[in-house]
């Protein structure tokens, strides 16, 4: 029997499949219009909200609170839009079969896709740095609070992303993936809000209401945005991300059996 190239292939290079998918995904963001649209709309609306709705100048305070205040709402629409194609498109076009028969484990594919998208959102977030320059030029803001807010914003984007990626694996329609993700993200965002709490309390389920309130993305983000990088809040986001990615792997794997 002759030697095949597959025999020569470096069997120790287990991370290569992961890297391959990660780089392909990242490359995808740089060549597809959806991703650029995401970045442009994010930057434009972040700016517009800050100055108009947030009354950045009129407040006369040297901080970025009016800027970060709108991030949850921007992410609520934009992250599901960015993530809706992650699995739905692979399923629709049949490339899922190609990907899952390559020497890569499902969790590696899930995490590679997540990290590439998260990095891309992080890039867009970094591009808001003129905001930080402006506020530093105009006054003397607490840069520690700003840094914490940036970290909180990035973590929250990650949580939205993990939710959206997981829901994208349920369907081959990007539209359905988007709407599902939007609905679930909205629920988690407002879990502590009367809008969600009132019906639960009316039903007399105080414990469910309390449990759900502690899952509120908004509350945890606001806690970090106040400048307190509390372990609990960071752990909350990390756990949310891990939970949804794990669910994603399980659903992906379950689909092969069905």
């Amino acid at each position: 029997m002759s030697t095949h190239a597959s025999d020569i292939v470096d069997h120790a290079g287990r991370g290569r499949a992961f890297r391959g998918v990660f780089l392909r995904e990242l490359h995808g963001y740089l060549i597809t219009p959806v991703a650029w649209l995401f970045a442009v709309i994010f930057l434009l609306s972040a700016g517009a909200f800050t100055f108009y709705l947030g009354a950045f100048f009129e407040r006369g305070q040297a901080d970025l609170d009016p800027f970060f205040r709108f991030h949850p709402w921007l992410y609520l629409v934009l992250v599901p839009a960015l993530a809706m194609r992650l699995w739905a498109e692979e399923r629709r076009s049949g490339t899922l079969e190609l990907l899952l028969t390559m020497p890569i484990r499902p969790w590696q594919a899930v995490v590679a896709k997540f990290l590439a998208a998260w990095l891309y959102i992080g890039g867009a977030l970094l591009l808001t740095f003129p905001m930080w320059l402006t506020v530093n030029y105009l006054g003397h803001p607490d840069n520690g609070v700003i840094l914490a807010s940036y970290i909180g914003s990035f973590l929250m984007a990650g949580a939205f992303l993990a939710i959206s990626e997981c829901l994208s694996v349920l369907t081959r329609s990007q539209v359905i993936a988007f709407i599902l993700a939007l609905a679930v993200c909205f629920l988690f965002l407002l879990a502590g809000d009367p809008l969600v709490q009132q019906p639960l309390l009316a039903l007399g389920s105080n414990r469910v209401a309390d449990a759900l309130a502690s899952l509120s993305l908004l509350a945890h983000f606001q806690a970090i945005a106040r400048g307190v990088l509390d372990f609990g809040d960071v752990a909350y986001f990390a756990l949310t991300i891990v939970f949804w990615l794990a669910a994603n792997v399980l659903i992906l794997d379950a689909r092969r059996g069905g």
């Binding site: 002759s2 095949h4 597959s6 292939v9 470096d10 499949a17 079969e97 028969t101």
Partner: protein
């Protein structure tokens, strides 16, 4: 080596594949034939590790596809049904991605890539986005992805679908060229592909393996096996006499081209009998042929039997 033992896939109460036993050794190119919905693609998906079997197991080059999935996939090149690929990528980018995921980097990777591009004639479209390519090019791009890591085992689901006759011949030559030390399973609807590229045939219908053997063995099962066909402008009397021969089962005339086919009883040898009779009757024969048997015929026979069987069972 690709082996399946009692491989089965069940959806609810419907058996898409049931008790499939296949053993394909290096040097063998197995053609998987069967009507649409027979379970060909499902079987291939299970061997490739995309679907998990409901029962039984599949082994690729000694690696169980469920228990040792990564090693099994490393040993396998797979062309899925419909030849999917990432449409937004250029051909070179897509092949680069496949090479990277397969751990083919550096000089080995570059050399393999060049080889595939040359053999599948992808040079002119390397920089083009895949979604702008014709169906034939897309299929070859996905084929290149399957062959890139020079796998010892290959599964190709309809490799020549959508290719023109020249490209088909090219792919057949490619498969024959690789066959020597590799294990290859090809699914197809084109029966001439079986003769052009395969040395074994398996026919599946309703999720079950019906017949397996070399193309010649299968042709023997055809009623055309050892039949004699000829063309003659005036042969009415000769046909009548032929039909009365004890060794002859029946004589048929093709209504379109007038070709006469003499079928033997129990696959007996009737060539000399036919020739002798035609000479005695001084029939002017334009053309005479000993038939080997027709795969089309066996295919129809086997799938019809399977259909009746399930109809009875229901």
């Amino acid at each position: 080596m690709i082996q399946t033992e009692n491989l089965g896939k069940r959806y609810g109460r419907f058996d898409a594949v049931a008790g499939l036993n296949l053993k394909v050794a290096p040097g063998q190119v197995l053609a998987l034939l069967g009507p649409n919905g027979a379970g060909k693609t499902t079987s291939m998906r299970m061997i490739a590790g995309f679907l998990r079997p409901s029962s039984g197991r599949a082994v690729v080059c000694g690696h169980d596809v469920v228990r040792d999935p990564i090693a099994a996939r490393r040993a396998l090149g797979y062309l899925p049904e419909g030849a999917p690929s990432y449409g937004e990528l250029a051909v070179a980018e897509f092949l680069n991605f496949a090479a990277r995921v397969r751990g083919l980097t550096g000089i080995t990777g570059a050399r393999r890539m060049d080889e595939m591009v040359e053999r599948l004639q992808l040079q002119p479209v390397l920089a083009q986005t895949i979604e702008t390519l014709s169906k034939g090019f897309r299929r070859r791009v996905c084929l290149a992805q399957a062959l890139l890591h020079d796998p010892p085992a290959l599964i190709l689901d309809e490799p020549t679908d959508g290719l023109d006759p020249n490209q088909q011949r090219e792919v057949h030559a490619l498969i024959r060229g690789m066959a020597r030390d590799r294990t290859i399973i090809v699914s197809t609807h084109a029966l001439d592909e079986v003769r052009a590229a395969c040395n074994r045939v398996a026919i599946v219908a309703h999720g079950r393996l019906r017949v397996e053997g070399t193309p010649a063995e299968l042709e023997k099962r055809s009623r055309y096996h050892h039949a004699v066909s000829f063309r003659a402008p005036a042969s009415a009397l000769a046909r009548e006499l032929l039909a009365r021969q004890p060794e002859v089962e029946t004589v048929e005339v093709d209504p379109v081209d007038g070709r006469v086919t003499v079928f033997p009883r129990d696959s007996g040898e009737i060539f000399s009998i036919v020739v002798k009779l035609l000479e005695e009757q001084r029939v002017r024969v334009e053309e005479l042929q000993l038939e080997r048997g027709r795969l089309e015929d066996v295919f129809r026979q086997v799938t019809d039997e399977a259909f009746e069987e399930t109809a009875v069972a229901a």
